[in-house]
């Protein structure tokens, strides 16, 4: 694609590219040099500040428990949000207005609110109305917030996945006399799941990143929060930030690569419909033709 935008470089263009590269390197180097100098001035490069990361104590006391909590919250939210999202998504496509409308309202409402507000609210709610111990409360609040938000996002993913299937699938199933529930569980969902997988994995990245919110605002002891205690102990603000950022990057990069590998694989094996729902497509789908697709006469 890129080569369409410019001609194959001739001698002059090549020279210009080299000059531009040099200028760019110089600018980049200037910034890096400034970063290096200030870090050096402030003593952030001292080996004493980096040394903890080569020893087991910093990892076993701070970082690994933090990572475990991050993953725990993410995994819990995913496990709860996925079925909930599937139910909401299917409910939004129901034939019955009294099922469809409330589900739509719930999905649209929770999608429009920041996760952080949901977490704060859940935290306060648990504190006042339930007897969850204060030690467990941050985890509960984080998971509640993430579940509410991501269930509604996943509901949209599910709906988009099912709507992306060819209409003929539902119609054919209807023609051979399956019930509505049978059409959904035997025909549409199995096909839609393969379509949705990459988008679901990408949503997992969002969940992992959002757990960090709970660490700052609610005192949930996840990775970012453990970084605070770690830095307070060793006084290594910048090194600890870099290490934590790298952990997050590696974690999410693995997930994104997995998602795009999955997407490519599913796209290649065009057995079913060949339609695959990428991460970005989710929000763009509009649902003009939801109602009445699997209409009357299903139970003859």
């Amino acid at each position: 694609m890129t080569s369409v935008l410019y001609d194959a470089p001739g001698p002059r263009a090549k020279r210009r590219n080299v000059i531009l590269s040099v200028v760019f390197i110089a600018a980049l180097a200037l910034v890096l040099w400034w970063v290096y100098r200030t870090m050096d001035d402030k003593g952030q490069l001292d080996w004493a500040l980096w040394k903890p990361f080569t020893e087991s104590e910093a990892w076993t006391t701070y970082l690994l428990p933090g990572l475990v909590d991050t993953l725990k919250a993410a995994a819990l939210s995913m496990v709860i949000a996925l079925p909930l999202g599937a139910i909401l998504g299917i409910a939004r496509m129901s034939d019955h207005k009294w099922v469809r409308v409330p589900a739509s309202v719930v999905v649209e409402f929770f999608r429009a609110i920041p996760v952080l507000l949901l977490m704060l609210f859940a935290n306060e709610f648990f504190a006042r109305s339930t007897d969850v111990t204060s030690a467990d409360r941050p985890l509960y609040a984080v998971v509640t917030g993430l579940v509410l938000y991501n269930a509604s996002v996943l509901a949209e993913v599910v709906r988009a996945g099912i709507l992306s299937l060819p209409k003929g699938q539902g119609e054919a199933a209807q023609a051979i006399g399956l019930r509505k529930s049978q059409i959904m569980s035997n025909i549409l969902l199995p096909q839609a799941v393969t379509v949705m997988l990459p988008a679901i994995v990408s949503q997992l990245v969002v969940i992992v990143k959002d757990t960090a919110l709970g660490g700052v605002m609610l005192g949930f002891t996840e990775l970012l929060n453990s970084r605070g205690t770690l830095a307070a102990n060793y006084a290594n603000v910048v090194p600890s930030f870099i290490v934590v950022a790298v952990i997050f990057i590696v974690l999410n990069f693995l997930l994104t690569s997995f998602a795009s590998w999955l997407e490519g694989r599913l796209r290649r094996s065009k057995r079913g419909t060949g339609a695959v729902l990428g991460a970005e497509d989710v929000d763009d789908l509009n649902a003009a033709e939801v109602g009445g697709t699997f209409g009357t006469g299903a139970d003859k």
């Binding site: 694609m1 890129t2 369409v4 935008l5 410019y6 001609d7 470089p9 263009a13 590219n17 531009l20 590269s21 760019f24 390197i25 980049l28 970063v35 200030t38 870090m39 402030k42 952030q44 409402f109 429009a112 609110i113 920041p114 996760v115 952080l116 507000l117 704060l120 609210f121 306060e124 709610f125 006042r128 990245v205 992992v208 990143k209 959002d210 757990t211 960090a212 919110l213 660490g215 700052v216 605002m217 970012l224 830095a231 603000v237 910048v238 930030f241 934590v244 950022a245 997050f248 990057i249 974690l251 999410n252 990069f253 994104t256 970005e280 929000d283 763009d284």
Partner: protein, 207 residues
Amino acid sequence: MTVKLTVFSGVGSLVWGTLLAAMRVSPVPLMRWFGTAYVNIVRNIPLTVIIVFTSLGLADIFGVTMGAPDDFALQGFRLAVLGLAAYTAAFVCEALRSGINTVPVGQAEAARALGLNFTQVLSLIVLPQAFRSVIGPLANVLIALTKNTTVAAAIGVAEAALLMKEMIENEAQTLLIGAVFAFGFVVLTLPTGLFLGWLSKRLAVKR
């Protein structure tokens, strides 16, 4: 405060994101490499980490005070804008790049046949069409940004989330306060989505 944060960091991320997108398709390999690296790194760090870093790292260690060394509220606000813009720019860049890919090959080829150079091809021919086709995705980025501004509460910027946290802790009607703030966000994001959706239909390049 939420609206102000959104507007400033929205504009900032749009500019920076466009530059990044231009870098990612540019003929200079080094710039391409930098753009790709930036997007992949920033996209995978939680926004919370970035925002907290602007405060603890940039301001305290590097001494970046954004021209307001004494006024902590202003400094926090500007740092939050910086962090939000840097983070959102990665998503703007990705949206734009996919928009550039939707512009038919013939457009760029015709422009090159006319003798335009890369900057001209990109700024006169490809980007104007790309922008029109990515208004929808950009609207989603903007809505996400509106919601992400709440993260600025982490460094004490007095926007919606921090206000709600304080109010909810001091007042009795938890549910009511939560509902009001939630409603506020619905009011902010819903019209944005509807308006930009209408705009993207209106401006869509007819082919």
